[in-house]
């Protein structure tokens, strides 16, 4: 069965790119436009992995990660955050909140897949 990955990003183009790349690699994708939306959609859903942006309206990535980790169903799922090179400090904050890893924007589809392969099986 295909693994389900949720991508939470307020940028439609990033969502589109992520979701296109993932579907191409054989994953199922759930899209969310911000942290709140992501959290709502996670309720009762079977998601194997989360890819989230850090800067989002309503609820940002760090907050989202903390909330997701607090749910027993998602305690151990891999969470990848999308960061930019100007946010080095955010990586540590993200790790502290429970993120598994990060991808620095801009990234190429291959890099995204490589990172997913690293954390999701």
């Amino acid at each position: 069965m295909a693994k389900i990955i949720m991508t939470a990003d307020d940028s439609a183009s990033i969502r589109q790119m992520v979701s296109f790349t993932l579907k191409d690699a054989g994953y199922e994708v759930v899209e969310a436009v911000d942290g709140k939306d992501a959290l709502n959609k996670l309720n009762g859903a079977k998601v194997n992995m989360l890819i989230t942006d850090l800067n989002m309206p309503n609820m940002d990535g760090l907050e989202l990660i903390k909330h997701v980790r607090a749910k027993s169903a998602f305690k151990f799922i891999p969470i990848i955050m999308l960061t930019t090179e100007s946010q080095a400090g955010k990586k540590q904050e993200g790790k502290a909140a429970g993120a598994t890893g990060w991808i620095v924007k801009p990234f190429k589809p291959e890099q995204l897949i490589a990172v997913i392969k690293k954390v999701l099986r």
């Binding site: 307020d10 940028s11 439609a12 183009s13 990033i14 589109q16 790119m17 296109f20 800067n55 989002m56 309206p57 980790r69 305690k75 151990f76 799922i77 891999p78 969470i79 999308l82 930019t84 090179e85 100007s86 790790k95 429970g98 993120a99 598994t100 890893g101 990060w102 620095v104 924007k105 801009p106 990234f107 190429k108 690293k118 954390v119 099986r121």
Partner: protein
């Protein structure tokens, strides 16, 4: 529209939306500069424009927006004040981005000087020199390309101690280890010494750590990258232990490796070395280091050695007689060692027994090793046949393909050499008699091209060679009538098909009436059979009419050493090849009396003829009260060999008897026994033939 165009279009629309967001936010800030949320909104919009821009090929926009974003980040932190200058610049940036987007769409040029002007204005706001590191997507690509291009191999030792809470970050250490395994030759050893007792164990924590020895052509940085997401709680030590440059160094000792890894102090190792025991055992016993750690250090040693072995693997050409000499010496050594073992058993001295056991083990290893040197892959012989098949088939106007399998199968050099002729003969037979001409094949619904399959494989202590063709197969009726004509059989009634096929091995049998240049020159299958049997092998033929014929050869791996059954007759000892022996039983005296001097015994209802070894070799002395009979299987029949006593199985190193006795019938060689005595190796098929001959003459 291509995928990237779709993405670009999405981005353009999104960026335009974001830009109106930017303007709105800027105006909001102007009205209410104290509200942090407006600044955040503004920052997020710029951030997204930049991040997505770089991903969809709008590098110019990304680079330009980077400056605005940096300034806005400072505004968020409160280090850059919100003033009219800032707002003007942001609005100008927004306009500039919009024109850049349009330019990308229409292909028109962008006013670069305007961009530069805005950027320098933004930089001035920052008031910090060179802090904003130039953002360039190319940097990332370049470094990526560099990483994979290092061709040189390194061997490293990696210790990966994940923090106990590694699972809480969604990280699965097993995936990382798998990733390392993909890098190259890799040995992973789990260290379990930190696992607490069950009632203390928290299943959500990680207690295991791993030692990995890895040989790879990736760089240390690549290896470090594997652990990029692993948090600071985890401990990752990567040490390069060997690269191509220092491969020449001496092999590292176990103790050295452990000390280097910091698992144990040098003094402890030295102390352990002083007591001259197995270092690993000793360290474990003393509790200085766990068994797993020693195990893992040993693995590393092996990996480095393996690497060395592959780098320096080459071959040496040695004259064959030197090898023969080596085998001879090893044979003598094996014999002497057997004597030594026997002597030491009589002495019954514990101090002697241990080194004697060591010698026994070493000699065994040395013997196997020496025999192994003589082993050659059969592939060279196989490739010779390719040519043979090509030439002969074109000569006969047939289309034949030779398929070979198991060319890497190893056989004793002598066996391979002596196998050459029989194989040539069998393949010629297949080409000449087996495969039909193309037209005939078409009629019977086969492809025009015939196939001969030549395959070799190991089966236990034997090598099995198969020659299989998809030709016409053997004609049982033709063979039968031919055999009757030649006087080999009388009626052929009651013979099974396989028994009929066996007749082709009878001397002077050939089904092809005409003599062709390919086969049928009087050298028949009987010669092939004899050759195989002198190699202590056996031959089998099976066939299906219209579908093909399959000849199977069973050959021993080596000729130098056989498993034998040591028996005694009179004062002499003999060896019967164990591969021929079926069973052993007693020959009661009263039976001989009842049998009216006919040499037949009933074995579970089956009448088996027997031969007395004493009679064959004219041994003097009286018969023992109870003789033993060894039932052997040869030439498809069971024959009893009567001996005085069966001593037991015996690994026999065959020595040839020397020139004088080379033509002696009935013995195939001699061997030296553990007590220094000599035993002859009985050539069982030969003595059966001799006896048959005598009987016939006698009748």
């Amino acid at each position: 529209m291509s995928q990237s165009n779709v993405h670009a279009e999405t981005y353009r629309q999104e960026a335009l939306e974001l830009l109106s967001d930017v303007e709105e936010a800027v105006l909001d800030i102007e009205q209410d500069s104290g509200n942090a949320e407006h600044v955040n909104r503004l920052f997020r919009a710029m951030h997204t424009i930049k991040g997505s821009g770089a991903m969809f090929g709008f590098d110019d926009i990304a680079e330009f927006t980077h400056h605005a974003e940096t300034v806005l980040d400072r505004v968020r932190e409160g280090t850059v004040p919100v003033n009219k200058e800032l707002i003007d610049l942001i609005l100008a940036s927004s306009d500039q981005i919009r024109s850049m987007l349009q330019a990308a769409d229409s292909g028109a040029a962008v006013d670069v000087s305007r961009s530069e002007q805005i950027v320098s204005g933004l930089k001035a706001l920052l008031d910090v020199k060179g802090d904003a590191k130039a953002f360039s997507p190319e940097n990332i690509e370049a470094s990526d390309a560099d990483k994979n291009m290092t061709g040189k191999k390194i061997t490293c030792r990696i210790r990966f101690c994940p923090g106990p809470s590694i699972f809480a970050t969604g990280m699965d250490p097993a995936l990382l280890l798998d990733e390392l395994r993909d890098f190259g030759d890799c040995a992973v050893i789990a260290q379990t010494e930190n696992i607490p007792a069950l009632y203390d164990l928290d299943p959500e924590q990680c207690y295991i750590f791993w030692d990995v020895s890895l040989t790879t052509n990736k760089s240390i940085d690549d290896i470090r990258d594997v652990f990029i997401f692993v948090d600071d709680e985890s401990e990752i030590k990567i040490v390069e232990i060997a690269s191509d440059a220092n491969m020449e160094n001496d092999r590292k000792r176990l103790g050295e490796i452990l000390v280097e890894r910091g698992d144990v102090a040098k003094e402890i190792v030295d102390k352990a070395l002083d007591s001259q025991k197995q270092i690993g055992e000793l360290l474990v016993d003393s509790g200085a280091v766990s068994r797993e750690k020693v195990h893992s250090a040993l693995k590393e040693q092996q990996i480095v050695e393996k690497r060395k072995a592959t780098t320096s693997s080459s071959s040496v050409r040695v004259p064959a007689d030197k090898l023969d000499n080596l085998i001879n010496l090893v044979g003598e050594l094996v014999v002497t060692q057997a004597r030594l073992t026997q002597v030491s058993a009589n002495v019954n001295d514990a101090g002697l027994a241990i080194p004697v056991e060591e010698v026994e083990r070493l000699t065994g290893e040395l013997r196997d090793c020496a025999l192994n040197i003589r082993m050659l892959p059969i592939g060279a012989t196989f490739s010779k046949f390719r040519r043979l098949v090509r030439d002969l088939s074109s000569e006969l106007g047939k289309e034949i393909e030779l398929k070979t399998e198991g060319a890497e199968t190893e056989l004793d050099k002598t066996v391979i050499e002596r196998l050459d002729n029989p194989l040539v003969h069998l393949i010629r037979n297949s080409i000449d008699h087996g495969i039909e001409p193309p037209e005939e094949r078409e009629v019977s619904g086969k492809s025009r091209k015939g196939t001969i399959r030549l395959a070799a494989e190991h089966k236990g202590a034997n090598v099995v060679i198969t020659i299989e063709d998809d030709g016409g197969g053997l004609d049982a009726e033709a063979i039968k009538s031919k055999a009757i004509e030649k006087g080999l059989i009388e009626t052929g009634d009651g013979l099974s098909e396989s028994e009929i096929f066996k007749l082709v091995f009878a001397p002077g049998f050939s089904t092809n009436t005409e003599v062709t240049s390919v086969s049928g020159r009087g050298v028949g299958m009987d010669v092939v059979k004899r050759e195989i049997e002198t190699l202590r092998g056996s031959i089998n033929i099976s066939s299906k009419k219209g579908e093909g014929t399959k000849v199977t050869l069973f050959l021993p791996l080596t000729l130098a050493i056989i498993d034998g059954l040591l028996v005694k007759a009179g004062e002499d000892r003999f060896v019967l090849p164990l591969s021929l022996v079926d069973e052993c039983m007693e020959l009661p005296k009263d039976h001989i009396a009842n049998a009216h001097s006919r040499h037949l015994i009933s074995v579970r209802g089956e009448l088996v003829p027997y031969i007395r070894l004493r009679e064959i070799f004219d041994l003097s002395g009286g018969y023992p009260p109870l003789e033993q009979i060894v039932i052997v299987k040869s030439e498809g029949m069971r024959v009893g060999i009567v001996v005085d006593k069966i001593i037991g199985s015996h690994q026999t190193v065959i020595k040839s008897l020397g020139r004088m006795y080379q033509d002696a019938e009935g013995v195939s060689g001699g061997t030296i026994l553990g007590d220094g005595g000599i035993a002859l190796i009985v050539d069982v098929p030969k003595i059966i033939q001799c006896t048959e001959r005598k009987e016939r003459v006698g009748v």
